[in-house]
Symmetry: C2
Subunit: 464 residues, 2 copies
Amino acid sequence: MFTPGVIDELKKIVGKDDVLTSPEELVCYSYDTTPFTHLPQAVVLPESTQEVSAILKLANQEKFPVTPRGASSNLSGGSVPVQGGVVMLMVRFNRVLEIDEENLTATVEPGVVLAQFHRAVEARGLFYPPDPASLSISTLGGNIGEGSGGPRCFKYGTTKDYVLGLEVVLPNGEVIWTGSKTVKNVSGYDLTHLLVGSEGTLGVVTKIIVKLIPLPEAKMTLLAIYDHIDDAAKTVSSIVARRIIPTTLELLDRATMELVEAYKPVGLPLDAEAVLLLEIDGSEAEVKRQASLVEEACRSCKAREVQVAKSKEESEQLWSARRSALAAVARGCVTLVIEDATVPRSAVPQFVRIIGELARKHHLRVPLLAHAGDGNMHPLVMTDFRDQEEMVRVDAFADELFRAALDLGGTLSGEHGIGTLKAKYLAWQFGPAGVEAMHAIKRALDPNNILNPGKIFANDLEGV
Amino acid sequence: MFTPGVIDELKKIVGKDDVLTSPEELVCYSYDTTPFTHLPQAVVLPESTQEVSAILKLANQEKFPVTPRGASSNLSGGSVPVQGGVVMLMVRFNRVLEIDEENLTATVEPGVVLAQFHRAVEARGLFYPPDPASLSISTLGGNIGEGSGGPRCFKYGTTKDYVLGLEVVLPNGEVIWTGSKTVKNVSGYDLTHLLVGSEGTLGVVTKIIVKLIPLPEAKMTLLAIYDHIDDAAKTVSSIVARRIIPTTLELLDRATMELVEAYKPVGLPLDAEAVLLLEIDGSEAEVKRQASLVEEACRSCKAREVQVAKSKEESEQLWSARRSALAAVARGCVTLVIEDATVPRSAVPQFVRIIGELARKHHLRVPLLAHAGDGNMHPLVMTDFRDQEEMVRVDAFADELFRAALDLGGTLSGEHGIGTLKAKYLAWQFGPAGVEAMHAIKRALDPNNILNPGKIFANDLEGV
């Protein structure tokens, strides 16, 4: 809890209007998209690096937790202030500071919304590929905290592959730059990549330099329709065997399609067991060449039909269906638990079967949405957090799911992070020695455990 | 110094033939390609992860330093055992364990030589782009320690962009896996990328999973010839403005060409002030399109001639000239100091001018070799370490060079690392707070300062 006077000190730093303490306001910042909630004691809205620094110095002096927050589209509990204290809302850092066409970089503040940034760079013929489904609301700072992915990461890599340097306020309030506009950089330890995906536990990012690439000349959207989901899953390796990396390779099963059609009908084939939604890009000639090989690969895996989007509108409609899938499924239940287990792509067919078996075993409704190209599976567990008996089954499902992903050589999270949701599994993947190495880094940089405590490390969760 | 019995303990771990202690043998492992030398007390050749683990546990117990070593092609003093102790030679870890065509990954041991690995993957139509000039001798483990780059990194990125996971023996002897075959992975802190470029100070890598990509169908080599080096430097931005990223964009000045021609003549134009050696790759059609735009960009920047290599042999000859440049220059002097300052590519023309001015100011002979596309400059300082007066000027040149690189928004090292050579500059780039953050991580993971002490951190160098 705050000692008396902390609120006054915070108001001195950011101004009295930028410290929120009313119950109504605190409730608004107590949750993200997971079932976790916890009230902060105050919400502060800094608007400069200096203010962030002063808040963290105060936090160390007074020993209160600080949880940085972007748009709260977090899917692992990462932005819930599970130990109370201060929520640091970064939305005032909302400027694209520079798009540098000569160096193919952009310098942006962490509160910039990703879709706005996409539009700004694409207007210059440039491209920033990471595209989490939350792109119309999520912020670049949040994307860095989570190491966000998205469909296009199959071809283009995730957020970490584009971040060149960060201005960061360290947990002790010191301000550093971790990198620069240069793509090559091996000066000291790679703090840039240590921070990407660290879920706001190692520093507060205040400026971001990202790499941009030329916007591909052309793209094409294809929809491959399958009577058997197993054939759809097998298509992934069949495409890669032809040495093609599509921009995206998304799998939707029938249950997901039914919910999408009920929400935003676009004519998905509800008599099919699964579809693959593919995008390819490159020069006009390259797109044509790839399209023919992709179609061949789909048909060789018994696709019943391969449709090509005939217009930009038709393509946009299919993608808007994909992006609305989470909302469509969420409409159908009280609580939606979005899993994020990831396996090597060769294991996709086996893992898809396991997911189906586990859903049946635990009597759960689990539509499947997958970035199949990179083995990143999102089983969507439709449940109700008030139903304690069902929640026990949801937990058992998750336990078996992640055990299977690790057994197949996979990982606990492809793009949503560990947060509070998966902290208990971390040692399954890294063993006690691996978790201890990570925790030693956390303690070294944040000895008072100020920044976003209760995340990633299960022993931090005790007493929460 | 060792306590009595340490040599016996080491022999118990790796076998008596795999502990070298004769003076002749110790001298062989006392240096790399920098002027630094220091004798170890023993050289050990482990051949399993368990042996590496046992050696590090012994080192912690007996408090002796361990310096991991690959092929010793290090350019920053990173593999010199500056505090004595044990050199851990990793050459026995020399197997390509798997090339997984379905997942587009390879699993290799750290002692595998890069050129051998290139051949193995290219035989399958796959591609591992990082290509440091040392590729015919350097090892993948060394590449990871240094975060190696190379010419092709302009288009394809450096070693860090290809490493997916590492089996690592931590400084305390514990063994962990940091990642997996999945490209998407945000499970806990990114220890993989913390280790890449950490110069053997945070762990000993014993297995490596790298990402592979499809081998481009076609490539083309071009040589653009300039009467003025400034025009060659300006061409970089002119090409990028056309939204083309060549595979490589290398600059050689006249002094470098003269030394190359004296060593391995290939017909470089010695009446020109500089050449750009370019490679482009992709599909046949894409290569043709790019070649025409690249030629247009070169001519718009006053290239006097643009030659296209007519055969694979002609292309290979030009590249072998480029790769032999370091040897060619080294032949001409007693001591070659290879700098590695990197600036944003927009600053390349200005930085090339500054390098020339500094060489004249300090009366030094400094041929220039540059990965110009990514602003990674290698001024080659030809000197003689026995000439103390000249070495003072070499130091003064380097001081001003790195100050200028940082002032232009660059970094201390693009691909050679900090080692002992540039430790004194680290705080210039990151400030005391940044260096302290890095050092805190080192202390957290290696409290006894066992692994490669005396590198990266200047205060570790005291008393060396």
